[in-house]
Amino acid sequence: MSNPSNLKYTASHEWVKTEADGSITVGITQHAQELLGDMVFVEAPTTGRKLKAGEECAVVESVKAAADVYAPLAGEVLAANADLDGSPENINSDPYGAWIFKMKPDNAADIDALMDAAAYQAAVDSEAH
């Protein structure tokens, strides 16, 4: 599965989608879910929480391990994906559909500083060597 070109990415393996209203939707990448394996628990941030860029704000747990999810940029949490409470495995089957939380960025221009799909793929490839 390739990384969708309409998304932005972080070095810590989050994907970021910019919505029409200027909010962002965040999930973890195909590469991240593959590293973690079968997902069994997601702890999402509470709505209204103010996050700094790079702050730990969610946890995804597979059978194998727990991994932190980081805020891709500064802002406020607007919503968490309640579907993942009952079906965390959606992250495995559909990593770019199974979003974890939505944010309102403090500064919309921060999104431009994130990696595009090609830069993210290059970062993943260099990690593997």
């Binding site: 079968d38 069994v40 702890e43 059978v63 727990a66 409470d85 495995n92």
Partner: protein
């Protein structure tokens, strides 16, 4: 960069799509896709595990029984029927656990021992050191020429007989924890999953063909990920996590394997008698949402404990753990586990959690 050790099945794992990981210096398959699917595959049908990294040791010569009687915490005298196996801890004089292992009584001149991968070298060094003093005529051989495959699940034995029909007559009447020496194949009705099945030891050069032959009759490969959740549900200890040289067997849920009743002396016995345990191993089932993991702290009215192994149980569909807690904690108590910034409730249970395809708590 260190080079990882490989088993003779390394190429087969890669050909079957395994995700490989560094497991204590060995390049091993963690899964071949979904580890939860692999877990259910073993509980409900049959799967096979590469356990070539574990070490087979043969102890041969007069007096081998007497030597093992002194070397091990469990009593070798309990096994008198040929092929019968015994699980035991091997202790330091201070009672710390060097390793847990299985011995098979074959003849009064031959016991076979299977030890863990990560401890094999120190185990053999310890055995030889003790033998030099107590049984100098004994010959202890690391069988590096042998490979081992575990076939586990309700349909495991039938699948092995399909591939190795020549072993059926000698193995169909084996009881649990008994082995038969079938020439090239040493077939033991043992395992680490809580399911029926065999562990088969065979010459290294034959193991790849054996692996593919099993696969051809429908036996799916299972990685170390599912091996860990299967053994945890079955309430089986993992050396290095649930016990090691810093703790004794009585604090590690292994009292049932330590024979303190007989007159027999064994290495570590005096230390065990002098130091009654103040903690014990119990099972935990998480009542809140989350996942229990090793080293998380457990808060109880009797003091703090610690999780030794924790994961998600595919059979129970909730998180379970083994934890070392103060003796005062009782089955049925609710305790709190510190997970990140939260205290989550867990119920104290008597393990195993699952065996023979079903939840048992």
């Amino acid at each position: 960069m260190t080079t990882l050790k490989v088993t003779p099945l390394n190429a087969a794992h890669r050909a079957m799509g395994a995700k490989m990981v560094d497991f204590g210096g060995w390049d091993m398959p963690v899964n071949y896709g979904s580890q939860i699917d692999e877990h259910h595959q073993v509980r409900n049908d049959v799967g096979m595990f590469d356990v070539c990294h574990m070490r087979v040791v043969d102890a041969k010569g007069d007096g081998v029984r007497a030597f093992l009687r002194y070397l091990l915490a469990n009593n070798a005298d309990k096994i008198t029927v040929p092929g019968k196996a015994l699980y035991s801890a091997m202790l330091r004089p201070n009672g710390g656990v060097i390793d847990d292992l299985i011995i098979y009584f074959m003849t009064e001149q031959w016991f076979r021992i299977v030890v863990n991968a990560g401890t094999a070298d120190k185990d053999i060094a310890w055995m030889k050191e003790q033998a030099a003093v107590h049984a100098p005529a004994l010959i202890i051989t690391s069988r590096d020429d042998l490979a081992m495959v575990a076939i586990q699940g309700p349909n495991a034995r039938a699948k092995v007989w399909e591939v190795l029909p020549q072993t059926k007559a000698a193995t169909e009447n084996l009881v649990n924890f008994q082995a038969a020496d079938c020439g090239e194949y040493f077939v033991a009705r043992t395992g680490y999953t809580g399911e029926d099945g065999f562990e088969v030891m065979l010459p290294k050069e034959n193991v790849e063909a054996f692996w593919y032959a099993l696969n051809k009759v429908g036996v799916k490969p299972i990685g170390l990920g599912a091996r860990d959740t299967l053994r945890l549900e079955a309430g089986m200890n993992l050396y290095g996590q649930d016990m090691d040289e810093s703790v004794g067997p009585l604090e590690s849920g292994l009292a049932w394997t330590v024979d303190l009743k007989s007159e027999r002396d064994f290495i570590g016995k005096a230390a065990l008698l002098a130091n009654p345990p103040s903690s014990k191993l119990v099972g935990l089932v998480l009542l809140d949402r989350g996942v229990l993991r090793g080293h998380q702290k457990v808060q109880t009215p009797h003091g703090e404990g610690e999780i030794t192994s924790g994961s998600f149980s595919p059979t129970l569909e909730r998180s379970i753990a083994l934890a070392r807690v103060p003796n005062g904690v009782a089955i049925g108590d609710t305790v709190q586990v510190a997970i990140r910034d939260k205290l989550l409730n867990a119920s104290v249970v008597k393990y195993p959690f699952a065996r023979n395809g079903k939840a048992v708590i």
